[in-house]
């Protein structure tokens, strides 16, 4: 199959994300990229664990007094749900239904944006209430770097998916843009998985001291 072919609902392949050589390459290459990203986050997690609660003096707030579980629980639910909505979007992509795909992707974007807004609130809360800043201690540096790297990934994902939706809004699906949507959803799942680890390692483990 060629990327430029005009397809109908009947001729649309079962796996449009892998039906041309370019698409197969993109699919596999993106998985490898996510492999590299995993190591990147692993390094950040290791750094965080090494520097957790490492502060210059006793006036600094430690993890167990800092984190607010209800807030991060809401954030977690938002991001997990956004992963689900992106699954629905891909379901409609595979069924050659661009309209519904866009609808679910927009929902994904809204949930992602809400998550990001909560994170911004959370950070400013720590800064203003606890003077826990990027430069106040090694703990602060490690915390904001790990969670901030994840937040930056979410922000990039929002821009990326928005660009994809806007660019392809009027021309529907073809084998050239279907893999693009697919890898964007893979990316979205990935940042969701990373968040699950952040929730566990940073927040839950933070609460038990």
């Amino acid at each position: 199959m060629h990327a430029e072919e005009k397809l109908t609902h009947e001729t649309w392949p079962a796996e449009p994300e892998k039906s041309t050589l370019e698409a197969k390459n993109k699919f596999l290459g993106f998985w490898f990229f996510l492999g590299g990203e995993t190591v990147l986050f692993a390094s950040l997690f290791a750094t965080y664990l090494a520097l957790k609660d490492k502060v210059p003096d006793t006036t600094h707030t430690l993890a167990k007094d800092l984190f607010d579980l209800p807030l991060t629980f809401v954030a977690t639910m938002l991001l997990l749900t956004s992963s689900l909505t992106s699954v629905y979007a891909m379901y409609h992509m595979k069924n050659f239904n661009a309209k519904k795909m866009n609808l679910w992707l927009i929902l994904t974007l809204l949930l992602g944006a809400a998550f990001l807004a909560l994170e911004v609130y959370e950070f400013s809360h720590y800064v203003h209430e606890y003077h826990h800043t990027f430069t106040s201690s090694a703990f602060g540096s490690a915390f904001y770097t790990l969670v901030g790297f994840h937040g930056a990934h979410v922000a990039f994902g929002l821009l990326w998916i928005t660009t994809l939706i806007v660019r392809n809004y009027n021309r529907g699906l073809d084998l050239y843009n279907a893999p693009k949507f697919y890898v964007a959803s893979l990316y979205w799942h990935f940042i969701d998985v990373v968040w699950v680890f952040i929730f566990t390692v940073v927040y839950l483990m933070g609460m038990v001291g």
Binding site: G29, T47, L51, V55, F134, G140, S141, T163
Partner: protein
């Protein structure tokens, strides 16, 4: 495509190379840029040896000496050895698997330009109050205390070029998995392709820790964070870990492709198939795997404790086993072969004892208790130069002579090639063999001078004289390159006469689409197999048809250039210069703008039509 036969002007050629996405041209770019940085790093080495030739020398100051050793190591590893290895991977690997290009031609070009601008940025530090001076490992305890902007150039330059390497690795992995010709199963892949494959996997998993380490150091130096500031709870050992989790796989990233090149040379010029092919593949994969398990052997004296030291010591010694398998397989390949002493074969034969010496000292260093004596002495310097020069640099010289005809269509002069070899071989052992003893006698590494009467004078002088021989060797090779390029005697498909793998079935240099029809691979050493059955070339695996090719693009250059601009802004932001923030923003806008353009503008590539390909057949010979 008769237009391709026309002579192009200089401007058009330059534009062609700035926008190319063809793996063969990108290989030439890597070769030129890597070769340039090799000469720069070599000059720095010469300055080191001049300074150390006699005791109490004042050829360079102590501070400048620190900058020179740092830049020598960093340049040689990141900007010379890796790009030169990448040059051969790009030039040869797609041909060896019977592919028309790599999986992501655009990304391939982007990888090159990121490396190039990162390297240029790092070297521009010489012109802005000083180069980095914390050693190529840039340990945080030294780097955080370094005055001026040297370390910032190191951090930002390596970050940019590291990104280029990472995407290059992903590209090669996907290419090898998805784009092999019909019949090219994994266990029929030439060893150089196998080592490219494993190396790319190492790049993929080893570079992110470096990225993180560099980010942390950038944050600490530029934005006031405290990762390595002990008074604020920071810990400098984190840098050591992150650096070596990258740094140790990095040495295998360098040496595995070197093994691959030699594994091509031995069967070619022994005219015998590679002994123990499957054990070679197994050993390559095992070395790649174990390469991630041994990083802390660089940190035996850091104080990780006896348990950690013991585990890492044993893991390190274990790597000797697959490497030993390889050495024996190469020896058995030569055994009973009809050996032809070409220039590449000279390098390959010299590689075995030279590299083996480095391997033996490696096992000595792996004994943690003994390492407390060797650590930070010239013994270590001798060890890693034996493996890196005796392994990687020998392979780069060998590969340059071996693949020159495939890349440029003309042979390098064999006599001059052998002169290069002998000068370099003698110079190399003269410089570095004696350094083992200097280390055991107690000369610490990284000192800018030493006192007379400590027994170091003669040995250091001998070592410095060796550097002269190596310099002469490089000059002879450059002369060889210029002379043969001027003469430009064209050669055919298989100029060595003993080509075994697919690249030798193609014209030298191959047409830009590589294979008119994808070849049918019927076994290991696919081309050799056909030759032995009296055929002239490969059997096609498909009828002649349209070929899909990617479009050239200027965007890779622009994306990399934007980061280069932004890096300048980030660096001078530390001095509170008013213009620095706008410069960062402009740079990032250039990069992300170009990425945005790439994303929204459809790029379907183009097709070479069947008729044009048939026309090509008729006016062969005219075409370059």
């Amino acid at each position: 495509m008769s237009t391709y036969a026309q002579k192009k002007g200089f401007g058009a050629t330059l534009w062609d190379y700035l926008t190319t996405v063809d793996h063969k041209k990108i290989a030439i770019l890597y070769l030129i840029a890597g070769g340039f940085f090799f000469v720069v790093g070599g000059l720095e080495a010469v300055f080191i040896r001049i300074q150390l030739a006699v005791p109490n020398n004042d050829f360079v100051s102590a501070g400048l000496f620190n900058e020179i050793i740092t830049m020598h190591g960093t340049t040689m590893i990141f900007l010379a050895a890796m790009p030169l290895v990448f040059a051969f991977m790009n030039a040869v690997m797609p041909l060896q698997i019977g592919a028309r290009d790599v999986a992501f031609p655009f990304v391939n070009a982007l990888g090159f330009w990121l490396f190039f601008f990162g390297g240029v940025f790092l070297n521009l530090s010489w012109f802005f109050d000083g180069a980095p001076d914390a050693g190529w490992t840039s340990y945080a305890s030294l780097a955080m205390a370094s005055k001026g902007h040297g370390v910032d150039f190191y951090v930002l330059g390596l970050q940019i070029s590291g990104l280029g390497t990472l995407i290059g690795g992903i590209n090669f992995l996907v290419t090898i998995i998805n784009m092999r010709a019909p019949g090219m199963t994994y266990m029929r892949m030439p060893l150089f392709t196998w080592t490219t494959f494993v190396t790319s996997a190492l790049i993929l998993f080893a570079f992110p820790p470096l990225t993180v380490g560099l980010v942390l150091m950038m944050f600490d130096r530029m934005f006031g964070s405290n990762f390595f500031v002990t008074t604020m709870g920071g810990n400098t050992v984190i840098w050591e870990h992150l650096f070596w989790i990258f740094g140790h796989p990095e040495v295998y990233i360098l040496i595995l492709p070197a093994f691959g090149i030699f594994s091509e040379i031995f069967p070619m010029f022994s005219r015998k198939r590679l002994f123990g092919y499957s054990s070679m593949v197994f050993a390559t994969v095992l070395i790649g795997f174990l390469g991630f398990m041994v990083w802390a052997h660089h940190m035996f004296t850091t104080g990780l404790g006896p348990v950690a030291n013991a585990i890492f010591a044993v893991a390190t010694m274990a790597i000797g086993v697959p490497t030993g398998i390889k050495i024996f397989n190469w020896l058995f390949t030569i055994w009973g072969g009809s050996v032809k002493f070409t220039t590449p074969m000279h390098w390959a034969l010299a590689f075995i004892p030279s590299f083996l010496a480095g391997g033996v000292t490696g096992v000595m260093l792996a004994a943690a208790a003994a390492d407390y004596q060797y650590h930070d002495t010239y013994f270590v310097v001798a060890h890693f130069h034996y493996v890196i020069v005796g392994g990687v640099v020998f392979a780069i010289f060998a590969g340059t002579h071996l693949y020159w005809p495939k890349m440029f269509g003309t042979m390098l002069n064999e006599t001059l090639g052998k002169i290069t070899f002998w000068l370099f071989f003698i110079g190399f052992h003269m410089t570095f063999f004696i350094q083992h003893f200097l280390g055991l006698w107690g000369m610490p590494r990284r000192v800018f001078t030493y006192l007379p009467g400590q027994g170091f004078e003669t040995s250091n002088l001998i070592s410095s004289i060796g550097a002269v021989f190596m310099s002469l060797a490089v000059i002879v090779m450059l002369y060889n390159i210029i002379m043969t390029s001027v003469k430009n005697v064209k050669v055919g498909n298989d100029p060595w006469g003993d080509g075994r793998t697919l690249e030798w079935a193609l014209p030298s240099p191959p047409p830009f689409y590589n294979f008119k029809q994808l070849p049918l691979v019927r076994g290991l050493d696919a081309y050799w197999l056909e030759k032995m059955e009296g055929k002239k070339g490969m059997t096609p695996a498909e009828p002649l048809g349209d070929i899909h090719m990617p479009n050239s693009s200027f965007l890779p250059f622009v994306i990399a250039f934007g980061l280069f601009v932004a890096a300048f802004g980030a660096l001078f932001n530390m001095d509170d210069k008013a213009w620095s923030v706008p410069v960062i923003i402009i740079g990032l806008l250039i990069t992300f703008g170009a990425m945005f353009l790439r994303s929204v503008k459809d790029d379907h590539g183009f097709h070479i039509h069947k008729e044009e390909l048939m026309e090509d057949d008729n006016d062969k010979g005219v075409k370059a």
